[in-house]
Amino acid sequence: MKLAKKHFINREISWLDFNQRVLAEAADAGKAPLERIKFLAITGSNLDEFFMVRVGGLISLRLANKRRACPAGYTPKMQLEAIEKKNRDMVEKQYTCFHELFDKTLPDAGITRLYPRTLTDEQEIRANELFDDDVFPLLTPMLLPDPDAATLAAPDLRNLRLYVAVRMREDSTREERLAVIPVQETVDSFFQLPAEKGKTGLLFCTDLIQAKIRRWFPREDILETTCFRITRNADFAIQEEEAPDLISGMEDVLAARTSGACIRMEINASASPAMETLLMSRLGNRHTQLFRIDGVIDLKTLMPLAFIDGFDHLKSAPWAPQPSPRVDPATPVFDQLREKDILLYHPYDAYTPVVRFVREAAVDPNVLAIKQVLYRTSADSSIVASLKEAAINGKSVTVLVELKARFDEARNISWAKELERMGVQVIYGVRKLKTHAKICLIIRREPRGIMRYMHFGTGNYNEATARLYGDISYMTCRRNLGNDASLFFNAICGYSQPVGMEKLLMAPFSLRDHLLTLIDGETQRASHGLKAAINAKMNALVDPILIAKLCEASCAGVKIDLNVRGICCLKPGVKKVSENIRVVSIVDRYLEHARIFHFYRDGDEQVFISSADWMPRNLDRRVELLIPVEDPAARQQLIDILNLHMKDTVKGWELTASGRYRPPTDSKQKKKRGSQEQLYLNAVKAVEDTAKRRPTALEPHRPV
């Protein structure tokens, strides 16, 4: 089916809409204030990345004179214009929200923003101590010379780092100069100062620096100070063909990212036109977008505020991850997997079984090998610790570390090297492709031969994000999946070319075709008058081929429910194009991250989990997996999850035929629950029910 431009939504605009939905959470007056701070910080960090990569990418395209339009008909130039307009609107809303929070909501709740001039004596003393101990010694000003008259080389200003700019006149020469003080990330962005009982005062570090600027420049005439930050174009991909090896190539990318052109400059709204001109002429270029910020620059620095001690009444009630009753804490995971498959939905179900899976393997004398793909993981990850331990225990441990995971490159290089030192065989990704699949394979010698145990996931092996992202874990020892898992690792380790697999589908080879076949199948069934339905959950739907297929299916009468958290380029509900398609986006406490696809197939239902979104980059330029979940109980669990999310009227935004999102209809209704809350309550109830079923006999601990 050929779709017209008007049936697509531009992906950048769709992404900005997503960030608006996150912002709506921050603006929600019914929400706990510190929870709102968290969402505000997230919108800030999201927008930073969007600028570096997407805006950066579009500017690179313009500079290269590429004019090809997106499926929605926008050329790079048109997209940049549309983005800028939406962005300015978003920044305005962000700071409206910022002021609402800092000028009203937080003070009412006992958290007050303080300014150096209005401190009490007690606060002043504390502020001075903090400045002398934790700020002044750490910060070093640099001169930012006039490029035309410069005898000094201009310092390289870091991407996304906050700076305090100082305009001053030198005492002796009366010459005007511009200096900048980099605010290192090691310095706290705000300090808590003493206040009445039950209250606290917040002093932002940048305010303190500006107030004490004379400490650095005692003899100069200070004309003006302001805060600013620049965003550099980070759209650099590694040139694998040219790099002598991946690590040094990667280091080049990291270096390029610190020197990319400045595409955004944020300065305080109070800065004078003279200051603005100076900074723009020394750092900007004709593509730099200037934002004057009325409030704290860099909203993501507010994140620690969401977690300050005390003030629990200002935070959302915690939803602690529950120990899944499907996993027995006392029986080894392998023994349990031989009995049944295990499916978990994090963070409602705790991540512990996944950590246990690797840890038990590391110390199990019968385990021969562990193979795992790590895309992003946490530095103190106990999974990584288990892998090291396994290597020390003499097991063959192979880890594919995706060095090309954007913005995590430096971190990944460092711990990958450490794994190597421990004797782990580390593979730095696959040439030209990013390995995004989430899989861990454990090979174990058993009396009946070699058994293979697998963990397949939709999220990264990262215990920190497993508490914040909604992701599926599927653990199994099914033979055919085990065979396929081996083939997969043989392929990515370079032992063999990719060979056909029985159950698993792999991008960039069979995954896209298989999805197309599955959608076609539903279309066929619908046109033969059979019930046909697709229910899919993903983070982003961008791929124009899949979108066209979905519309074709819709026209044939297939009922399609899509739960797309972020970008969605498909316009649903359009007569004779997509009228049978619904798109719902959930923005709530946890980041929706699971990819689950359900095809009705006239009752012979098939459900898959995947690491891949329906985007060209995932289907064509990444190593991804599509995993069929055939265990009936696990399959039903996934279908229930899909249905629950689709019915969310509290946190679910519905995309309309106009391309705009309709806010959730029941968001103000206290009685109704969002799908995430429901999932949490279900998990709690399942634990309680299991406890009730447990035998009432007491089990005394006896001396051994």
Binding site: E446, L487, V499
Partner: protein, 528 residues
């Protein structure tokens, strides 16, 4: 035999399976299959690895394998070993059987290749010939044709167009009739095409010309009027099946319409190889052979007036595994295919079927009666049987020295299941069924290793002896019984007529037997 189970429960009994890896070094790729072999002799392939490698391109265009290709092959094998070690804790090369086919066999520097691989990896690569390929392929295909009776009904041709050679096997009602190896392959075709250096020359013409001999000899073997089916094997045929037969399970035979295969071949040939690589996710050497091979299959199907082609997923590795399991190799069924195929050769040379049958029966009886004395294997027995069936085919050429004609006809025939060494052994047995005893001046004989010479004289002595028992070609003696009595081989017959003529022949023809076994033959009428 090979079965996949969905459940996570292991179907096999408690004792642990054995891990075996088989490696096949072919013209376009090196492939390895890893299997678990259970105590009940069933096995399941658990791992498949492959790496494309242009051995065929080197050998069939330059005559030898390039040094860089050898080193790449070594690297591939090392990685296979690494995978074996990591995934299966297999470190010994004893668990690995590696074979190389025509691309190595026909390379001038095959010794260098084999030695380099052995030194670098410890893996001993066996070079196998066409007959062996056919035998292994048959072992792999057997479960399929046993299951799919319709497929095996009437006449089934197994066809694999490789990089260097094309293997053809004819099965009549599931029995092997003939097995042939033809020097036709996609690399040879490309080479021919390049030699013409003339853009006008069509690939189709080259293929038609190159295949004319193959077509003719297949037709000669077929029985006119019997319906024929073709089961195509090999990566290229599989490629076609995967594209044209969406729901193919990869276990049964895929059924393809020849015109569709022709369309696919045309499409493939029209695309630059680079495009094939990126569009179909195949390796470059495979992309190069894909078009010519598909076209050759279409051409052969056309020449045999077929509108349908079957494609099987079976391959050499399956055969190697079956052989690894052991019991399949010289099993009764397998032997019966060899015998059937030998008789087809006999038919071709107008053999005296009755005499042949009689001598064969006697000689196998004698072999069995002497087991204690000779300690020879079932394989030796089969070769003796083949020699007995064909010992007189030399009369097709001339009655004079027909035993010598028999020898070279046999050595140059293709009998399913027998490789070159086996065939020359059978030929020599036939050669010594009459005429001079083996002598140091007989170069064929002296060229044999000592061990084989010992086998040969025993088998030849047996054949020579029993041949005397039907020297009249009339099967007068009927059923015989052989038994040992001290220094005498007692042969008893129910025949009541005069035994003097046979006794006289036995006198002269039994000399070699007596020298070899120290036994004196004595022909006696059975007691009433």
């Amino acid at each position: 035999m090979s079965s996949e189970t969905i459940s996570c429960q292991d179907p096999s009994p408690l004792s642990p399976p054995v891990i075996r890896a088989v490696i096949d070094i072919g013209a376009t790729s090196v492939r390895m299959a890893v299997a678990e072999i259970y105590p009940d002799k069933t096995w399941v392939i658990k791992d498949r690895l492959q790496q494309s490698l242009s051995l065929g391109r080197d050998t069939f265009t330059g005559g030898k394998i390039k040094f860089s290709t050898i080193e790449t092959c070594v690297e591939v094998l090392r990685r296979f070993q690494k995978s074996l070690q990591e995934n299966w804790a297999v470190t010994s090369t004893k668990a690995i059987r590696a074979v190389a086919t025509s691309a190595v066999r026909e390379a001038e520097n095959r010794e260098q290749f084999i030695n380099r691989v052995k030194i670098a990896t410890g893996i001993k690569v066996d070079i196998i010939d066409g007959a062996e390929v056919n035998r292994l392929t048959f072992l792999a295909v057997r479960p399929l044709i046993e299951k799919d009776k319709h497929l095996a009904k009437d006449y089934l041709l197994l066809l694999e167009v490789g990089g260097g050679n094309t293997e053809v096997m004819g099965l009549r009602d599931g029995q092997v009739d003939f097995a042939q190896t033809h020097r036709f392959g996609s690399f040879r075709v490309r080479e021919t095409l390049e030699q013409y250096q003339e853009p006008g020359i069509q690939l189709e013409e080259v293929i038609t010309q190159a295949l004319s001999g193959t077509v003719r000899s297949i037709r000669e073997c077929l029985i006119p009027g019997t319906p024929v089916r073709v089961l195509a094997l090999g990566a290229e045929a599989r490629f076609a099946a995967e594209r044209l037969c969406r729901n193919w399970d990869g276990v049964s035979a895929a059924k393809l319409a020849v015109p569709r295969v022709a369309e696919l071949a045309a499409k493939v040939l029209a695309s630059p190889v680079e495009e094939l690589v990126s569009r179909h996710h195949i390796a470059l050497p495979e992309a190069e052979t894909l078009g010519p091979t598909l076209l050759a299959l279409v051409h052969l199907a056309g020449q045999l007036n077929l509108s349908t082609l079957y494609v099987g997923n079976q391959n050499l590795r399956g055969g190697l595994l079956a052989e690894f399991v052991g019991e399949e190799v010289w099993s009764d069924i397998f032997i019966s295919h060899i015998i059937h195929s030998a008789k087809e050769v006999g038919r071709k040379y107008h053999y005296d079927k009755k005499h042949s049958k009689c001598v064969t029966a006697y000689v196998t009886q004698l072999f069995d009666a002497l087991r204690q004395a000779h300690q020879l294997s079932q394989k030796d027995r089969t070769i003796l049987e083949v020699a007995a069936i064909l010992h007189d085919i030399g009369t097709f050429v001339s009655n004079r020295s027909h035993h010598k004609h028999s020898k070279y006809l046999m050595i140059n025939s293709e009998i399913f299941g027998l490789n070159d060494t086996d065939l020359s052994m059978a030929g020599l047995i036939a050669r010594y069924h009459r005429g001079a005893d083996p002598k140091p001046t007989h170069s064929d004989y002296t060229r044999l290793p000592a061990k084989s010479r010992l086998v040969l004289i025993q088998l030849a002595a047996m054949l020579r002896l029993v041949e005397a028992l039907d020297s009249s070609h009339e099967q007068r003696l009927g059923d015989l019984a052989f038994s040992l009595d001290a220094k005498t081989l007692v042969i008893t017959t129910r025949y009541r007529g005069s035994l003097s003529s046979e006794r006289a022949t036995l006198e002269t023809k039994g000399k070699m037997f007596t020298t070899v076994f120290g036994l004196f033959p004595s022909l006696r009428p059975a007691p009433k």
